[in-house]
């Protein structure tokens, strides 16, 4: 009796056990497992990276015992069996094997010790246990930024500030040399920072601390301090301007490389397979449960969020079907509505930018006659750009998330689009601030910048001014985060726990929204990157700031917030953070690059007094190299080299893209073949069964 609709699983089991593929899989596994009565099906493709080290000459490629999925008793038996084999090896192979083993032991000991040194290991582990890996990735991102800023600070400090300190104290027989200026108009070099002379009120100290003027202006915090030209350490000549410039390039390159290295893992996933990696059902179901969760409440939340996520995805699929069935009239209506809303968004953005521009100009003008204002007013004027930027950063996202509801996109796309708009808003705000500063500095109407190339009356040392603005932004950002936590989160929590009126209970605790928090710290980091050229000690301030923010956010999370209902997954979030950070870094390249290369450096202060622009120091140094090297370097910078180089790089890129496309196609073909093969196999088995029954 042969039932044509027989389900596949009814094929007799004994046949499957005799298949050659099954036999080889069983042999490879050592065949010691009695628990699995049923066969494993087609051969378990055991392509665990064969440890190339283990491939000894005549011996079979044996993997270390721990890589076998057996219980410990079995593994012990396997290891003893493997070791029995060793007796027959030659002495050389024995020595190789034992040295490899001891090396591995040493490495694992070292790893164990170094894991104690990892910052905040226990804190992040406990957060992971209570809130899941999505929020944990935010905190490990914060830790990464602390480390990055610390390294940048060490870099700038040791190459730029340390030589000056050494020479000031005369260690190693060091002296400084200042070249007297020639060919520069005297007017350009007048620079009298209003360092405090005589009696001052106490509040001026506070004002100086908050806005970087006065005493702080003449310290090594700002660019203006570094007026030394060379430092002689014993007999070596240390070229400070060159070091300053190269250290700047070095920290930008270091940040770039480190971020790319961290994001390579997530990127590989995207490139390798074409299925949408963040939405795949299998990913959600098989890897959905965070095994690190230890708290039953968190587990409840996770259950609910998983259920919600799965239901949303299924809902989205049905929506997609609905969208595909839209009529032309409906499509027209939706597209025109979207265009209208995008125009509104652009209008909002330009409103923000214009107000930032006006406020910056106003603040710069007013702060130049500081003596007429009292303490509070002058502080307000100084901080006006920062206040406006923070307001814009706060209101903008609210408007965006309100508007996007009308645009009728898929839910996942809505989230991404709102995020993109917020990112653009925040980063563009910084850009507009800098642009308005520069328009003031290079305001050359009415011959204001005649002899020096920049507005020397108002800004005798313009780099320090830019550095001050960045410093103010950073301090204000920090104060705002503190203030929000203290004055909004804790009272809210107190209200919710003690007052049982229904409206407040419905309002509830605030969610810990990962994307908002991440944008906040990326905004701070971009300011730090831009500001480090103008204020070399800024990364130290950033390190301390992020250090304190870690603890604040942790306390805030544990006591006052509830986790979001729709959490972002760990893989999405890691990739997203790093991409936005990369965008911030590339944005930071632009102002620094423009300041170095095209705006004339100030003649009254700083290490680049004797050069037209800051970049000038590099060609000047190259001119001091031996002739052959000079020619090579100039050749590399000329068009004859750059254009073919660029073409070659494009060709290499196209090659790799074509290779990837070809591989994808081969994978598809192999997959189809696999399906056909399995169908053939089932067909044959059924035929055999049929034949057997007759």
């Amino acid at each position: 009796l042969f039932f044509p609709e027989e389900p596949h699983g009814a094929a007799p089991v004994d046949f499957l056990q005799e298949l050659p593929s099954c036999q080889s899989a069983r042999r490879r596994r050592g065949g010691t497992q009695e628990r699995r009565a049923a066969p494993q099906g087609p051969a378990a493709t055991r392509v665990a990276e064969p440890r190339a080290l283990q491939q000894d000459g005549g011996e079979q490629a044996a993997r270390p015992a721990r890589e076998y999925p057996l219980c410990i008793a079995e593994k012990r038996r396997l290891r003893d069996f493997q070791q029995a084999d060793i007796k027959y090896l030659s002495r050389w192979k024995k020595w190789k094997r034992s040295s490899r083993k001891s090396l591995k032991k040493i490495l694992s000991e070292a790893k164990g010790v170094s894991s104690y040194l990892v910052l905040w290991r226990h804190d992040i582990h406990s957060i992971e246990g209570r809130f899941g890996t999505g929020i944990q990735s935010y905190f490990s991102f914060l830790r990464f930024l602390v480390l990055l800023n610390f390294i940048i600070f060490i870099l700038m400090f040791s190459f730029v500030t340390l030589p000056i300190i050494i020479s000031n104290y005369g260690i190693f027989n060091s002296t400084i040399a200042k070249i007297s200026s020639k060919n520069i108009d005297y007017n350009c070099t007048i620079y009298e920072p209003s360092g405090n002379k005589g009696l001052v009120y106490f509040y001026t100290y506070l004002q100086d601390l908050l806005s970087g003027t006065g005493i702080l202006e003449v310290t090594s915090l700002f660019y203006g301090y570094y007026t030394i030209d060379t430092v002689w350490i014993s007999i070596m000549r240390y070229n400070l301007p060159l070091a300053y410039l190269l250290a700047t390039f070095a920290y930008l390159a270091l940040s770039l490389l480190w971020i790319i290295k961290r994001s390579v893992g997530g990127f590989k996933q995207n490139l390798v397979h074409d299925a949408d990696p963040f939405q795949s059902y299998c990913n959600k179901v098989f890897a959905g449960w965070d095994f690190c969760i230890t708290d039953p409440n968190a587990a409840q939340l996770k259950h609910r969020s998983l259920q919600y996520e799965l239901q949303m995805d299924l809902e989205e699929e049905r929506l997609k079907q609905k969208i595909a069935d839209r009529t032309i009239k409906e499509k027209l209506r939706i597209y025109s509505l979207r265009i209208f809303i995008n125009i509104i968004v652009i209008a909002v953005l330009s409103g923000c930018f214009y107000s930032i521009y006006r406020v910056t100009v106003f603040s710069q003008e007013k702060s130049n006659d500081i003596s007429n204002l009292n303490f509070q007013a002058s502080l307000l004027v100084q901080y006006l750009p920062s206040i406006v930027i923070t307001l814009a950063n706060f209101i903008g996202p609210q408007i965006f998330s309100f508007l996007i509801r009308f645009e009728d996109y898929l839910p996942a796309f809505e989230i991404i689009l709102t995020l993109m708009r917020c990112v653009f808003l925040r980063l563009a705000n910084i850009a507009v601030l800098l642009f308005s500063l520069w328009s003031q500095i290079s305001d050359c109407a009415a011959d204001k910048c005649e002899p020096c190339g920049y507005n020397y009356k108002l800004y005798p040392c313009w780099e320090s001014d830019v550095g001050q603005e960045m410093y103010k932004l950073m301090i204000f950002d920090f104060i705002i985060i503190l203030a929000f936590t203290l004055f909004m989160d804790f009272p809210r929590k107190l209200l919710v726990t003690h007052c049982s009126c229904k409206a407040i209970q419905w309002w509830g605790l605030q969610e810990f929204s990962i994307s908002d928090n991440v944008l906040e710290i990326i905004y701070g980091q971009t300011i730090c990157w831009i500001g480090t050229f103008f204020s070399p000690l800024l990364p130290a301030i950033a390190t301390v700031k992020y250090f304190i923010i870690f603890y604040i956010k942790k306390i805030c999370l544990i006591h006052t917030r509830k986790p979001a209902d729709k959490p972002i997954r760990a893989s999405t979030s890691n990739f997203f953070f790093l991409i936005v950070l990369l965008i911030g870094l590339i944005l930071a390249f632009i102002p620094v690059g423009v300041s170095i290369a095209s705006i004339p450096s100030s003649k009254a202060c700083g290490p680049f007094r004797h050069f037209n622009t800051s970049w000038q120091v590099v060609p000047d140094t190259i001119l001091g190299f031996p002739r052959g090297l000079q020619q090579v370097l100039f050749g590399m910078a000329s068009e004859a080299f750059a254009v073919p180089f660029f073409i070659v790089i494009c060709l290499v890129m196209f090659y790799f893209m074509a290779l990837a496309g070809a591989h994808k196609r081969v994978v598809e073909q192999l997959r189809e073949q696999l399906v056909l093969e399995s169908r053939d196999k089932m067909f044959l088995i059924r035929k055999i069964t049929e034949a057997q029954r007759h």
Binding site: R66, P69, I72, K101, V285, A287, I293, L306, L310, V675
Partner: protein
């Protein structure tokens, strides 16, 4: 130590936690004792886990079938769930944990039970049957290569190797 993926400190910590689960008088001989399932499930790491029973069942080597675990089973479990285990090992054991009826493949019933475990116990937290159907269809479409209606070990390993979240979510650290 070379039989597991754990470092020396981790093994010592595991020993400490394991011996805490035993009643006081048996603690000296902890290596050869078996801890009944109910005690293992009081560990905070397993308490909140919906797969706790499956984990105990899969890692236990007791012949009596009562899912009690010896210290070596416990180490085995921690080794598979540690950070440094290869993804091969993890996916192999994950397959066994998800295979609720122990038949070597993940069929529709297994997948249904898996999804119910994920969304939580209790009537209101389960998906409706149409949603479940749709979800299982989608899963099979994505992962069943040979289209036989079930997911076997190699298909599971293949689909999990492309999944970016698996390595970070399938881990327990004491």
């Amino acid at each position: 130590q070379e039989l597991t993926f754990l470092s020396k400190q981790e093994i010592l910590l595991a020993y400490k936690r394991f011996s805490e689960l035993l009643p006081k008088e048996e603690r000296e001989n902890a290596c050869s004792r078996r801890v009944p399932k109910s005690h293992i499930l009081t560990l905070p790491e397993l308490r909140a886990n919906p797969f706790q029973h499956r984990i105990c069942h899969v890692f236990s080597t007791s012949e009596a079938g009562d899912d009690s675990m010896s210290f070596e089973d416990f180490l085995d479990m921690l080794s598979v769930f540690s950070d440094s285990a290869t993804s091969d090992i993890k996916s192999h054991y994950a397959f066994r944990i998800f295979d609720f009826d122990d038949d070597g493949t993940l069929d529709k019933k297994d997948l249904e039970q898996l999804v119910n475990c994920l969304t939580g116990q209790g009537e209101e937290s389960r998906l409706s049957s149409t949603e479940m159907e749709q979800l299982i269809q989608n899963i099979l479409e994505e992962s069943d290569i040979d289209k036989d209606g079930t997911i076997n070990l190699s298909e599971f390993q293949h689909v999990v190797s492309r999944s970016p979240d698996f390595a970070s979510s399938f881990k327990i650290i004491l």
